[in-house]
């Protein structure tokens, strides 16, 4: 392994933060700041492209690892590394951030410098969460994402931004405390924060008191992740946060931040506590299915475009959780794929919502109507992403949905049956919304003269459209890196199943 390979994750993670630091020094010339932020985010993207290029797709374990002692007491390591699960989440983050910069080009015109500093710090935090293999480091990044995100909402948001920011912060902060407790318990018993060490210790059965503590440890992690996902019924922070957040905040919130929760479930709940995962799967799956249907139905009746997309995220993430807790290969592969597909298409949906907000300063669907006439390019992009989002085959949404549903069906027939109704609901809320926003005659005079997409917006939207198509047509490019990691995550479960069968 050459030098770049061991340092690459550090580079990708901290290039945005370094850029943010440099931005502090840059004089307040808004244009320069934007260009600089774009450059930094593109640099991080370029660096991250090294990963899939050099990733060994047939290997299951962690790659690009870097593991150096950081603090001797307590024993904290600076341990980074990725497998097929985290690889694409890093790429998703670096893919979306430049688009966020572009989409904020015009919409952010006050405190530009602070905005982009926060955005870049957020990127570092998000990447860190996915690459950290030391539980302490993970927790550090986990909480580190909270601050820039809460500030982005609270400072750059809309009318009720402070309420939304505080709700977001408290909701997820309180839930994280349970995870911290679980992490500290594990450290106390194993003497290590290192993920692989802890995992080996637990699997070896040598951790004292594990049998009694395992249910609580599982729950500790799970609560933190469930709030982040968010799983019904702890989802109510999300619609408020989205509605108030600036566009770039929403894109990263829905696109990446929510996946911290599902990533955590895959990595920690399944990775550390397979037996507990099995025991708890029934009620978790029920919550996930409630989320799928409930999220879709509530989305259907939202008068606010952004809230509609927010509730649709709850529905989509329900699929992810269901796939994870089906413990099937199809379910896990599909769950991973939905995470990526949802990141791309919902990120794009929020960008599109931002485009119209900038022109009309409202998200109320009743304020639109007939927009296809003044804004043909916009409506075409919107339709494309709507189709991707409702799972049209050959676009990205379908692959994951099909795999997850197939996996859920294998796990328990009625899970598959209930969850598959989701394909009806998603068509209902998305197409109804699309009809109300774009079709018919223009009903509000001010909509007649709306300008269509400008260059920045087009440049920001095209990559999402291309990606949505590429992921739908050639999903193997992604799946073949995911599969080995999924297999190794599932290995304990097949053993468990065999033991149960016996």
């Amino acid at each position: 392994m050459n030098g770049l390979d061991s340092a690459i994750l550090t580079l990708i993670t901290f290039v945005p933060a370094a850029g943010a630091l440099l931005l502090v020094l840059v004089p307040r010339r808004d244009r320069d700041i934007r260009v600089f932020a774009l450059g930094i985010s593109l640099l991080a993207l370029a660096l991250s492209l090294h990963l899939p290029d050099h990733f060994h797709r047939d290997q299951a374990g962690f790659q690009f690892e870097q593991n150096v002692p950081w603090i001797p007491a307590p024993n904290i390591h600076y341990h980074m590394g990725i497998d097929g699960i985290s690889l694409w989440l890093v790429l998703l983050t670096t893919f979306l951030t430049p688009l966020c910069v572009l989409i904020s080009w015009r919409s952010i015109h006050e405190r530009v410098k602070e905005f982009f500093i926060l955005l870049l710090l957020l990127e570092t935090g998000l990447i860190g969460v996915f690459v950290a293999l030391d539980l302490f480091l993970f927790y550090f990044f986990w909480e580190a994402t909270l601050i820039p995100m809460a500030l982005l909402i609270g400072v750059f948001g809309h009318e009720r931004r402070v309420y939304a920011a505080v709700k977001f912060f408290l909701y997820t902060m309180i839930a994280s405390v349970f995870m911290l407790a679980a992490i500290l318990w594990l450290y106390a018993k194993t003497g290590s924060f290192d993920f692989t060490t802890v995992q080996t210790a637990i699997r070896g059965g040598g951790v004292e008191g594990m049998a009694a503590a395992a249910p609580w440890l599982f729950l500790g992690f799970f609560i933190a992740f469930a709030v982040k996902v968010p799983l019904f019924p702890v989802h109510t922070w999300l619609p408020d946060a989205h509605v108030e957040a600036p566009t770039a905040g929403s894109v990263l919130l829905a696109g990446v931040l929510l996946k911290m929760g599902t990533y955590g479930m895959l990595r920690f709940n399944l990775g550390l506590f397979p037996e507990q995962s099995r025991l708890n799967a029934p009620w978790i799956a029920i919550l996930a299915m409630v989320g799928i249907i409930y999220g879709a139905l509530v989305a259907m009746v939202q008068p606010n475009l952004k809230k509609l997309i927010a509730y649709s995220s709850i529905s989509h993430l329900g699929f992810v959780v269901l796939g994870i807790f089906s413990f099937t290969s199809a379910g896990l592969n599909g769950a991973m794929f939905i995470m990526l597909a949802h990141g791309v298409s919902t990120g794009a949906l929020f960008m599109l919502a931002g485009v119209i907000y900038e022109r009309r300063h409202t998200y109320q669907i009743s304020q639109f109507g007939g927009l296809a006439t003044p804004m043909p390019a916009y409506s075409t992009f919107f339709l494309f992403i709507v189709l991707a989002s409702l799972g049209l085959p050959l676009l990205n949404g379908f692959i994951g949905e099909f795999l997850v549903l197939s996996g859920a069906f294998q796990a328990r027939t009625w899970w598959g049956v209930i969850a598959t109704t989701g394909v009806i609901w998603s068509a209902c809320y998305l197409l109804w919304m699309y009809q109300r926003v774009f079709f018919g005659a223009v009903t509000h005079a001010e909509n007649l003269s709306l300008r269509d997409l400008d260059l920045h917006e087009r440049v920001a939207l095209w990559p999402t459209a291309v990606m949505a198509l590429a992921m739908g047509v050639a999903p193997l490019l992604w799946l073949n890196a995911i599969a080995p990691a999924v297999d190794s995550t599932l290995a304990p479960f097949t053993q468990l199943a065999r033991r149960v069968a016996r």
């Binding site: 509530v298 259907m300 069906f409 394909v423």
Partner: protein
């Protein structure tokens, strides 16, 4: 050696056309747009012809070509693979042939409409997905085409998106189809669960050893029923047919191509493709047959009372699809496909001709405002006449042979199927000739075309007929139209008068008319001195498995030509019986004609009187039995109000958020109270210390005493 036919080219060519027009068409002129669309759909047709010509050379059928892997999870994988056998060749020729003709027609029909490039891009996109559907080598790829044609249908129904009704109809079509897709997906999951693959060849090979599930409800029956659910959505069968009449909001060529000739038959194709599964699930077959028979009858009755020419044809399509379902349900798959093909000819033609009629009188679709068009638009009249005779089942037109084969096979399964089918045939003949008389005979009842923008509501059909048509004005207008520019008039625009459609529209009509006449001759049954070559051609597809079905009427001898087929069970009654039934069918068809002749030619005042004396029934039929309204009350409205009031306002805001805000409020109050402790007052601090100390001491005492 099996040659490589490059089957992937077939769908990809129209896709390229769609991409070119979709991305750059805005900058092209109409000629260029039309050229692109025609070249790419036409070359697909040529390749389809070439592929069909290669068929006899193939050493083994079905022939599967795998282009690339698509997705994989665990041991499950699905590829981009294409599957060619006799059945897919028939579908290929129908889709590309009729599809190309309708492309040609559309060049003229849509000439004046805005969004010309958009229209042809969608139309080519439809061809792409439809070809994926019929060529797919596994259920998942079939599902790609299945959903894709649904998308094209959504886009094209809503083509005139400024009209709210068009936008709503497109959405309705998609969502209702999704209900069917729900069943389809579950069927796929069941197949995966039992066979671990979705490839046709592997699944069918794995199914073959199974015996028919005659005793009860096995997993094959479940799969078949779920597939049926999907087919009911796409092929507009009860209870999911409600989207198709609304789909008439789309431009008429779209109705012809998608909602008559090709897409809506996808469900029939899928059932026929899955015949190996269905043959082993007799109860599922029975469900298919019953759905088909009921739909055929039910939709036909609605067709009687419709006044919109396209709505009549829409219900007629639903009804004819019911026949195809009935055929599949009695395991007469090749008869179903035969009717699928002839129906594509004559129903495609009916829609195109209706489009030509609508076009000629400036966008009017109400038959009460037509009449007497026979002499004004003779080309349209004659082609439409052929199609009407074909659908009515009058020999020797195409529809006669296919419908008669279905009725005969239905009779062999159960006389009840046959009777419903026969009644439907009578109604079909009646409402089609009603349409024919109302449109082409009598006197023109419309207002002068140029000023047709105001539409009078007419309560009865005939009332309007008695208005004196302003013939002179119309003729003047026609003269102007003939001497004017060859440019086509747009629907609903200022109009030059009643005029025949241009050549580019008439040629496809003529070709389809010829096909509607002779298309049935490849399936002449033995009883009429033919050899049913169509049935023999498809034989290998449907013969491949013939399980011993215990039910008597489930005749496994699909591949055996009919003349020998009857020899087994009832050798003596063979051709004689069949001929009697044929005669009954023909008489029925003429009876329908006779009734229409009586009511809409001889005694035109009668329909109103009948409608008045059977007011209740008439209202029920004219209002399509209020099914849309019932669905709205049962499904749509409760769903929306429960979502809004119970879930969102109730649970989300009322329970969860209230709890959280409440606990935040509680925490604030608590800390408010705690804040009062820090009063800065020394004595109160001392007091708190004393209370605390007392507590500690009490605790220690309690611990010590234990």
């Amino acid at each position: 050696m099996t040659p490589n036919l490059h089957l992937w080219l077939l769908p990809v060519l129209p896709l390229v056309g769609a991409a070119i027009n979709g991305l750059f068409g805005k900058r092209f002129n109409r000629r260029a747009v039309a050229a692109v669309a025609l070249i790419f759909s036409g070359s697909a047709f040529l390749i389809a012809l070439w592929v069909a010509s290669q068929l006899p050379k193939m050493s083994s059928l079905p022939h599967v070509e795998t282009v690339a892997g698509w997705l994989r999870a665990g041991t499950f994988r699905a590829d981009f693979s294409f599957y060619l056998d006799q059945l897919s060749v028939v579908m290929l020729l129908v889709v590309t042939g009729v599809g190309f003709l309708i492309h040609v027609y559309s060049v003229g029909y849509m000439w004046e409409e805005g969004g010309y490039y958009r229209f042809f891009s969608y139309l080519n996109l439809f061809m792409f997905f439809m070809l994926v559907l019929v060529l797919a080598g596994n259920y998942l790829l079939l599902f790609v085409g299945w959903e894709g044609v649904g998308l094209a249908s959504y886009l094209l129904i809503g083509f005139f998106f400024l009209r709210d009704s068009a936008a709503a109809a497109g959405k309705k079509a998609f969502i209702v189809n999704r209900v069917g897709d729900f069943g389809f997906l579950l069927a796929l999951f069941l197949i995966i669960q039992h066979f671990g693959t979705l490839d046709f060849d592997k699944v069918f090979a794995a199914v073959e050893p199974y015996q028919g599930e005659t005793a009860g409800f096995g997993f094959l029956t479940a799969i078949a029923l779920l597939l049926t659910m999907g087919a009911c959505g796409k092929s507009a069968q009860i209870p999911l047919y409600v989207w198709l009449p609304d789909a008439m909001e789309g431009p008429t060529p779209v109705s012809a191509l998608i909602h008559a000739a090709t897409m809506v038959t996808a469900g029939v194709y899928m059932v026929a493709r899955s015949h190996v599964i269905f043959e082993r699930a007799p109860s599922a077959l029975m469900v298919v047959a019953i759905i088909g028979a009921l739909t055929a009858f039910f939709a036909a009755t609605i067709g009687i009372a419709q006044t919109d020419i396209k709505k009549v044809l829409a219900y007629s399509t639903i009804s004819q699809l019911g026949y195809m379902f009935l055929a599949c349900g009695v395991a007469a798959f090749s008869a179903g496909i035969f009717h699928l093909m002839t129906h594509a000819f004559f129903k495609g033609l009916l829609f195109l001709a209706a489009g030509s009629v609508i076009h000629s009188i400036g966008g009017e679709q109400d038959m009460r405002k037509m009449g007497g068009l026979r002499t004004r638009i003779p080309g349209t009249f004659w082609t439409m006449t052929v199609a009407t005779f074909a659908i009515a089942g009058i020999p020797p037109f195409a529809g006669f042979f296919s419908k008669d084969e279905i009725l005969w096979r239905a009779y062999q399964a159960s006389w009840a199927y046959w009777l419903v089918g026969l009644l439907t045939a009578f109604i079909t003949s009646f409402y089609m000739f009603r349409l024919w008389f109302l449109t082409f005979f009598g006197q023109y009842r419309g207002s002068a075309v140029a000023s047709h923008s105001h539409v009078q509501p007419a309560p009865g059909v005939i009332e309007v007929a008695n208005q004196r048509p302003r013939v002179g004005e119309a003729e003047n207008a026609q003269a102007r139209g003939l001497s004017g520019t060859p440019v086509q008039e747009s629907r609903g625009h200022e109009h030059g008068g009643i005029h025949e459609s241009p050549t580019v529209m008439l040629v496809p009509l003529a070709i389809l008319a010829v096909l509607s006449l002779v298309g049935g001759w490849i399936g002449v049954p033995g009883s009429l001195g033919g050899s049913n070559r169509f049935d023999k051609f498809l034989g290998p597809v449907f013969r491949s498995t013939t399980p011993a079905l215990t039910q008597e009427h489930e005749r496994p001898a699909e591949s055996v030509p009919p003349e020998r087929e009857t020899e087994g069970a009832e050798p003596q009654t063979g051709h004689g019986t069949e001929l009697v039934f044929t005669a009954i069918s023909v008489i029925t068809a003429f009876a329908g004609f006779g009734l229409a002749f009586l009511l809409y030619w001889k005694r035109p005042e009668l329909p109103d009187q009948i409608a008045a004396s059977f007011h209740g029934i008439y209202q029920a039929v004219a209002n399509k039995y209020w099914i849309d309204e019932v669905y709205a009350v049962i499904f749509v409205k409760p769903l929306i109000s429960v979502s809004a009031l119970v879930f969102w306002r109730g649970i989300d805001q009322g329970v969860i958020d209230a709890t959280i805000d409440g606990s935040a409020e509680g925490a604030r109050e608590l800390s408010d109270n705690l804040r009062h402790m820090q009063s800065g007052n020394l004595r109160s601090y001392a007091g708190w210390v004393a209370i605390g100390a007392t507590g500690v001491i009490a605790y220690m005492l309690w611990v010590g005493m234990r």
